[in-house]
Structures are given as structure tokens and as C-alpha cells.
Symmetry: C2
Amino acid sequence: MRLFQAGELKLLKEVRERFRLDPEEKSVIVGIGDDAAVIAPHQKKIIVTTDMMNEGVHFDLDYTSPFHLGFKLVSVNVSDIMAMGGVARYLFLDLAFTPDADDDFFRNIYDGIEHALSLYGVRLLGGDLCSARNDTVLSATVIGEGEKIITRAGASAGDKIYITSSTGDSACGLEILKRLNKETKEIIRKTVGAMRCLARVDTGIEGQEPEEIGELAVNKGSEIIGISWRIAEPLLMRHLMPVARDSRDIVPHASSMLDVSDGLFIDLCRICDEGSTGATIYKDKIPLSAELRVASELLGLDAIHLAVSGGEDYELLFTSRDFPLDEYNRTHDIKVSCIGEITREERNIIDSLGGKKPLKAEGYQHFGPPG
Amino acid sequence: MRLFQAGELKLLKEVRERFRLDPEEKSVIVGIGDDAAVIAPHQKKIIVTTDMMNEGVHFDLDYTSPFHLGFKLVSVNVSDIMAMGGVARYLFLDLAFTPDADDDFFRNIYDGIEHALSLYGVRLLGGDLCSARNDTVLSATVIGEGEKIITRAGASAGDKIYITSSTGDSACGLEILKRLNKETKEIIRKTVGAMRCLARVDTGIEGQEPEEIGELAVNKGSEIIGISWRIAEPLLMRHLMPVARDSRDIVPHASSMLDVSDGLFIDLCRICDEGSTGATIYKDKIPLSAELRVASELLGLDAIHLAVSGGEDYELLFTSRDFPLDEYNRTHDIKVSCIGEITREERNIIDSLGGKKPLKAEGYQHFGPPG
């Protein structure tokens, strides 16, 4: 059924019932359904972030399932709260649906949102549901709480530079998605997006194992190459369903932090700009996933380039003087790597032979010159 | 210059500098420019609302100036905070611009936002600036504070029902706007929207008097009629540039409250639903502006119908047992009217002859059946 036949009030009622609050939730005074929500936070400092996702700019519905879309919308906002040293608590949503949206699409977006909410321990408290003329639009605001706030400023010469997991996978996943033919995109959206890929270590959500898709046929210039599902799947998932990294055990040690959303180097330069510092990055220490190495080789792409300038990694980039790296990695599934150190002024990359090149702010920006 | 030539970072820098915070603002720990903003609210209860405005659904750029758009975006959100009994404090913005947007459009939206922020005493603390494929999209989250929270629930039989100012003007203004020819729409957008209509009592902002436009040529079926600018202007402004009503002197007396955004009767029914009550409305007591009476007569529209079912009034509808009506109206520019009372069960409208009709929830909903 088309959403336009359902009526806004019925849809709102459905959302309100689905996300009904536990009456034990004492910090929420007014939840969904009034002019605004009212909260009495536990902590004195509240952290607020907002992010928008637009069809045709941030996502392509040819290969993105509504489930992934809803999950990602929450993740990217929770990631910002984590990157400030906070814990995400409350979600507010503005969703706009096009005339051709049906109630399956509507419910699957909320399925993805609900899974993310349960993973992160966040409550949906309100928002706006409306129609859009041409493109689906999703905007979310997440409110969190924290005591020790970690901003982008605060790094000083001598601090080491750390990154969680690895970067570039999401950008490589996007490259693969863009090079699939129409039918394969549809398979990714319908099969993979249908809650099958949830049995993943980093989501902590139990689910079915992904179905065997075999080999993906990927365009590479004039030829078509095969990439095995085992290699492609983690890369696609990093793009379609990113998981915000838990910063709680990092916060006590961090002097500055952000989540890498536009590209490792552009975001590292932000830390340098805010702290008026330089940085030295050791090229060999930049962590690359095995899947990124294999897939970029097959596609003729530069893995390091993807890792330093690809966007949407949502990994935590932080600086610290006393981060207990070995102990942390022994006790956490998501590993951390030290990739360099903060310097007084110069910003350089050192390669394995000791060669030095200037570090440039590479990454994505909206409204950039075409090309 | 097109926005796409400017680059996101330059635009963000401009916004960040324009809305730089006073360092004396102790409640803001981190403002624009990090992963998220951090606030230490004065009060224990924080109030959060969010609203989205989409081109082609919520506004038409043929007659809406970017200045009005920015102002209205803030107003509709502040209105929700006021309607909860709170005071608006912080604004977060998600704005998406289309490829043809130029930097005039961009700056004029921020002009409107800035005027609204100064009127309401609100600070811009963050957001997201991105591109949109087809339609301009604006989404805002406003955070406020309050002690006594007034929800939609709380009315009980015997309470009187009150409304600020008058309803229907915005819907009538929209009717006029839709019936203008292309050139006149352009005049409204360019001339009236260019900060000329700010010398209005209810904005409290000084500005130039509106230029004499004379008579507006308005389509009425097959004929074209003239409506004087003196009559049309207040109606157009109520639609294009609504001002959130100050609830501070109402809050101590209110048992329930909301801001009328979908229509007086649909919103009154929400108060009745939440409080499990009925209501009696006296048709003759529903306040109609002189401009609404004249314009609706000229257009062959039913003024009462516009007043009870037209949307986007942003007037405060509240119930109270002890509201000091006369004293309030002696001391406030925006007057309040008593339009009826809360009853146990039945919902009726009484006309001047004592005739009784059932009160129906009339108003706007998204995704409604076409009609």
C-alpha cells in the first residue's frame, strides 16, 4: 500500500506505539506525541548532533535497502556523540517520503532504526513525518550525555595518533556498489538488505548468516571482473551499515578525538588545525583490511589512497599520550592502531624508506568544484 | 556565484564566523565546528523539538523568499518549545541546497535565521550543510528549557478554552499566494521578502515600512479580482513569516497547551483525545481578523472554515481554569480569546442561535488521500 493512502495520523500512531517508552525510563518526562519531548538528563552536560541523508547525494536506492538506510542514519549520528566522549541517549527523526513510497519501505526504515536503537541503547523521542516531492530525505538529531568531553582541539606535540579498526573499506565498498549492474544492485538491496547480515561481530545483534551469493560481477573499465562474496561483503557492509565505535574505554586517555567521516587525512588536518599542531603519519602503519587489499588490487585502485581520502569510515581518530594500546587490543574486538604522532608544525607522511611527503587534506566535501 | 563552486568548507567557515558565540555564554561548552555541540543547561528539564520543511511540499520558491524561509524554519520550531511551556535556547540546522542555488540564496536564508534567532534569543550551535538533488530541504532542531511543562494532556471538564490572536489568516494568505500570476509571485518573493516587512509589532524588529504595492490581482475562478495590499499583506505575512507566540505569562495558568499547526479543530481534538474530554466551542467567539473577513468575502471563501481547519497558524491553544483574560489583554499586544470550554464527553459547536453541531477534527495531514 502507498503511504499516501494511509494518512499521516495512522502512520504516526504506528510509530508511537512501536517505540513506546518503558514507564521506568525516569529521564524522559514527555516522549513521542506532543509538541516537543522533555528530558531530565542524568549528567550535567548534554551533547547534541544532527545529520542529514538525501537520496541521490548520500544514498542510492538502487542498492541501498530501507533497513540499511535506517540503521546508518542512527549510526552516523551516534558516532558523532561517541567521538565527543559521550554516550548516545535520545533520537529525534525528520523523515520525508516520496509519493511512490509504500508501507514496506516505511516499516523497513523503522526496522533498521529499531535495530540501531537497540544496539546503541538509544530511545526515539520524537520527530516529524512528512512528504517529499522527488527524493527521500532523512534527518536525525541525537542527544547524548557525557562528563569528560573530547573535542577536536586538545592535541599537542608529542601525542601519539590512533585510529580504530581500518579506513578505506567503506569507500571501496561504494566503488564496488557503483560498478554493479542493475540486477546485482537489486540483489544487494533485496537480499542482503533484508536483515540477513546482522550476525556480525561488531553489531552484537544475532541474525541469520548471509546467504551464499558467490561471486559479484563488477565493472572495471571495459571488462567485467569477479570479486568473491567473502571479500566483497565486509566492504559493502562497511558502506551500507556502518557501526559507530564505542569510545568509552578510549575517552579517559584521549586528548582530542573525532570520527572519520570525510576522509582520514582531511579529518586529521581538522585536529591539527584546531590544536595548531603538525603531524607525522607513517604510511606503513595505516591499517588496511585484508578485504580492502584484495579488492583494490582486483579493481586497480590504490588501497592507501582509499584509506586516507575515502569517506564514511566512522572510525575514531584520536590523540593520546598514555593510551594503553596492547592492553586495549587484548580486551577489545575492534582493534586500535597507532599511525603517527602530533608535531609542532610540519605535516608529513613518512614512507617505508624514510621518504617524506607533505600531508594534504584529502577527502569529500559537498559543493566542491566538479571533478 | 553557485554554491557548488564555493566548497563546503568555505561555506561552513562563513556560518561558523557569522554565528560565533559570545564567550560569556557559559551554558555552551562546545559550539559550532566539532562533531557535536555540548551544552550545560540552566534548568533540569530540557525540551526538544524538530521540524522539516521541503520544497514543493511545505513551501514554493516562486513566492517564498529565502529570508522568509529561514525565519519561518526557526519560528515553527520555537513555537513548539513555547507550546510546551519552555523558552527556546539552541538551534541545530540541517540544510540541503540544490545545484542551482547561489550564494545570495544561501546568505538570505541565514539572514532570516539570524533575525529569528535575535528575536527569540536563540543560539545556532551546529548542524549539517549538504547538497540535494532536486529540492531544497531545511530541517531544524530546537532545544529549550522549562520548569513547568504543559503537555496536550491535562485539560479537564470545566476548563475554559483559549486561543491567542486569530486563526485562518495563514491559510487565507496561502490561498492568495497560490492565486497570483507568476510576475506577482516574483514581486512578493523579491520585494516583500527582502527584509522590508520587518517593521511589524509582533516581531519587535525595527525595519523599513513595506513599499506600497497597491492592489494584488488575484485569480478567482474565471475572473481576476483586486485585493488591496493593506488587506493582503498581513495575511501573506502570517503565512510566509509566522511569529511564535510568547507563552511565558500563559504557562502559570495553563492546564494543557499546543500550538495550532494543522488546524484549530484537529488540534483541539488532540487536546480532547489526550485528556479524554469533550469540548464546546462557541462559533461566534472564534476570533477572525478584519483582513480575513474582507479577503475571504472577496475570494468567495468561508472565513470560519479557514479559521477552524486552515493550517500553519502557530497560535497557542490552551485550557485553563483561572486565566486572567482581561488583565492579560490589557497588558499584551497579542490578545487572547476564550472560545469555549472543556466538557466531559461530547464535542460540539454552538452557533449564535444556540444550534448544536458535532465538532470534527478538520485540518491538514501528510500522506492523506488525494482530495
